[in-house]
């Protein structure tokens, strides 16, 4: 696909579970292993997407502002790089995030069928950034440095 499709995908997140689920083929594998999601059932997928279409800023579910950084690929597969800023969310990853603004970045790899429907999705994102925003220790890089361990 392309950048425009990535925008369409994320606008559909915000519009309704029905609209975003319509972008997936009947046979699909949706995975965000960071949220323990490995889903092949459309009813489950509807429930996965439901929070992202929330439009009430006061119910704690949050308003989920995604922005596309780039699309790298072609019409059959590619990587969408994105940023996510939830506004007025109360809980994320089991943590109290009420009145604690945060944002992070991630990437999603898509494989599309001949009709342009998503048949495979693999999403990954930076959760350490979320923890840092909440005041928890979670340094930016996994890579250890010799100075950090005194060798």
């Amino acid at each position: 696909m392309n950048y425009a499709f990535a925008i369409k995908w994320l606008k559909a997140f915000r519009t309704s579970p029905e609209e975003v689920c319509a972008l997936y083929a009947d046979d699909f594998l949706f995975e965000d292993l960071m949220l323990d999601q490995s889903i092949t059932d459309k009813d489950d997928l509807h429930r996965v997407f439901a929070p992202y279409a929330n439009k009430d800023p006061d119910n704690g579910i949050g308003i989920h502002n995604f922005r596309i950084r780039s699309y790298t690929g072609d019409e059959r597969s590619g990587l969408i790089r994105w940023e996510w800023t939830p506004i007025s969310a109360a809980v994320f990853l089991g943590l109290d995030v009420k009145d604690k603004p945060f944002w992070t970045q991630g990437h999603t790899f898509h494989v599309y069928n001949e009709e342009g429907k998503i048949v495979r999705e693999s999403s990954w994102w930076d959760s350490a950034q979320v923890l840092r925003a909440l005041g928890l220790t979670a340094e930016k890089t996994v890579t250890p440095t010799r100075s950090a361990v005194g060798v």
Partner: protein, 162 residues
């Protein structure tokens, strides 16, 4: 590229930083991002000197210096000679810390993904990598939850850590 190439890339990442760096386009013609970007000056690697400074620790081979032994095991490659996604398993042993959190050398495991884009010479021009830190954070005692809110019988009361 293919699964064998992905395995070569992962082997180099965890064992041989010179070999890893050789897989990339000339300095100034590639970008490596292994976490979120606040500022490209600090967060995007574009030359070999920075590869060695920022990524080289993953190839540590001393089990006792606290840097840890890092292993990346490729499980899947989806792509071709232009671009592709690598799924990998990650394990670290002997690290004193993980992202600054005391780890006391214990074995930690998780998964991650890396997208690579190649130029016409087969050299990498873009690397986008993310680790799934959540299982590691949980193993190190952080109160992270990943409730299955999409289950038909999900109880919202389980959303918040007890």
């Amino acid at each position: 590229m293919n699964l064998d190439y992905a395995k070569q890339w992962a082997e180099a990442l965890g064992n041989d930083t010179n070999a890893y760096a050789e897989l990339y386009a000339p300095d100034g013609e590639f970008a490596i991002e292994q976490h979120m970007v606040d500022d490209h000056m600090d967060d995007t690697i574009t030359d070999r000197a920075t590869i060695h400074a920022r990524v080289g620790g993953l190839a540590n081979d001393d089990p006792d210096n606290g840097l840890g032994r890092h292993t990346f095991t490729v499980t899947e490659f989806i792509g071709d000679e232009r671009f592709g996604l690598i799924h990998w398993d990650y394990a670290v042993e002997g690290a004193s810390h993980y992202r600054g959190i005391p780890a006391d050398g214990r074995r930690l495991e998780t998964k991650g993904s890396t997208f690579l884009q190649f130029n016409a010479d087969g050299k990498i021009v873009l690397e986008s990598t993310h680790f799934n830190d959540n299982p590691v954070f949980q193993a190190l005692g952080l109160p992270i939850l990943t409730p299955h809110y999409w289950d038909a019988n999900f109880d919202p009361a389980t959303l918040v850590a007890g």
